[in-house]
């Protein structure tokens, strides 16, 4: 019995270390899932480009734009994401409502759709938020340079 207790005491530090690593790993995973995730809705088959928004200054800038937005009355409650091939807008997931920004929203062509019940629609004047996020995607290099070439050819998303 004494020998068993000694063995247990010796191994206790190892057990504590394993528990510590497991807790840290779980915390990291939870933290990653709670970040603001931006998805550029571009492709049909392959995964869409995504990136995480962490920059506080950028988020503050986004919030300032949101605070200026006008709510729109829309009878049509269907999604603003168009049913078509190619670029279809931007989807933002913000599980913890960071910076007071919405939890889930879709952005396309001057409109923002907040995925709540009932849905709320906002006017994105001059496609400001859409341009901001697209530029951030370019800055973070999540878009294939060949796609950017095609976008430039349409002169749609360059500042």
């Amino acid at each position: 019995m004494k020998r068993y207790n000694n063995l247990l005491a010796e191994k206790a530090w190892l057990i504590l270390l394993v528990i510590f690593f497991l807790l840290t790993a779980s915390a990291l995973i939870v933290s990653a899932n709670n970040n603001i995730k931006v998805t550029i809705l571009l492709f049909s088959g392959r995964p869409d480009p995504t990136f995480t928004l962490c920059d506080e200054a950028f988020l503050v800038k986004m919030k300032e734009q949101f605070d200026k937005m006008v709510t729109l009355q829309r009878e049509d409650e269907s999604s603003i994401i168009p049913t078509k091939l190619g670029y279809k807008g931007i989807m933002v997931s913000n599980p913890l409502s960071r910076q007071g920004l919405p939890k889930r929203m879709n952005i396309y062509n001057g409109l923002i759709e907040l995925n709540r019940k009932p849905k709320v629609f906002l006017k994105d004047a001059d496609n400001k938020i859409e341009r901001l996020l697209m530029q951030e995607a370019i800055n973070k290099e999540v878009l294939d340079p060949k796609i950017i070439e095609r976008m430039n050819a349409k002169q749609k998303f360059r500042e």
């Binding site: 492709f43 088959g45 999604s79 049913t83 190619g86 279809k88 095609r150």
Partner: protein, 177 residues
């Protein structure tokens, strides 16, 4: 003699209950439910009528995911998943459903499926499932349908395939992931 008969009957019952292989009906509302279904299932899910919520990729389930965005590479990956290249007649045996694959080479791939009404439908990524092409026309032939959208144009037609689909939406029987 009794036990084997029961096992056989049970197996047949399971097959009938699963609805495999059957041509699907055009029922876009199932795929357009947000946030669970629409955002998590792509053209490959829809084409095979198999909801996985994983944004399925050709070859992922079988460990042979496509390496390039070309007809050959995506075709090979889909075949690794069990999807068959259609015979030259485009008549799929064993009640399998006819699919069509197109690519915008080096950029992306896209799948269409044929429904019980003989027309074709598709789901552009996280967009809604639809039976219309890019100019708003119903699709009687994916080879001649308009396939160019903003920044992407799926101009390469890769061919037809056969998939074990289902008459129950989302319950296709191909092993995709």
């Amino acid at each position: 003699m009794r036990l084997p008969c029961l096992v056989l009957l049970g197996s047949v019952g399971l097959l009938i209950g699963s609805g495999c292989c059957k041509t699907p009906n055009y029922s876009p509302e199932y795929w357009n439910e947000e946030p669970a279904v629409q955002s998590n299932n792509n053209c490959y899910n829809y084409g095979n009528n198999k909801r996985t919520d994983t944004y399925a990729q050709p070859g992922r389930r079988s460990g042979a995911e496509y390496g390039a965005l070309t007809c050959i590479s995506v075709r090979t990956a889909a075949v690794a998943d069990g999807i068959e290249v259609a015979p030259s007649s485009n008549y799929c045996p064993h009640d399998k459903d006819l699919l069509a694959l197109v690519v915008d080479e080096d950029f992306d791939y896209h799948w269409y499926r044929r429904d019980t009404n003989g027309m074709w439908s598709h789901k552009p990524g996280r967009g809604m499932a639809t039976n219309l092409d890019e100019v708003g026309a119903t699709i009687s032939n994916p080879e001649t349908a308009e396939r160019c959208g903003d920044y992407l144009c799926y101009s390469h037609f890769c061919g037809y395939f056969c998939s074990c689909s289902s008459d129950k939406e989302g319950r296709g029987c191909e092993k995709i992931q």
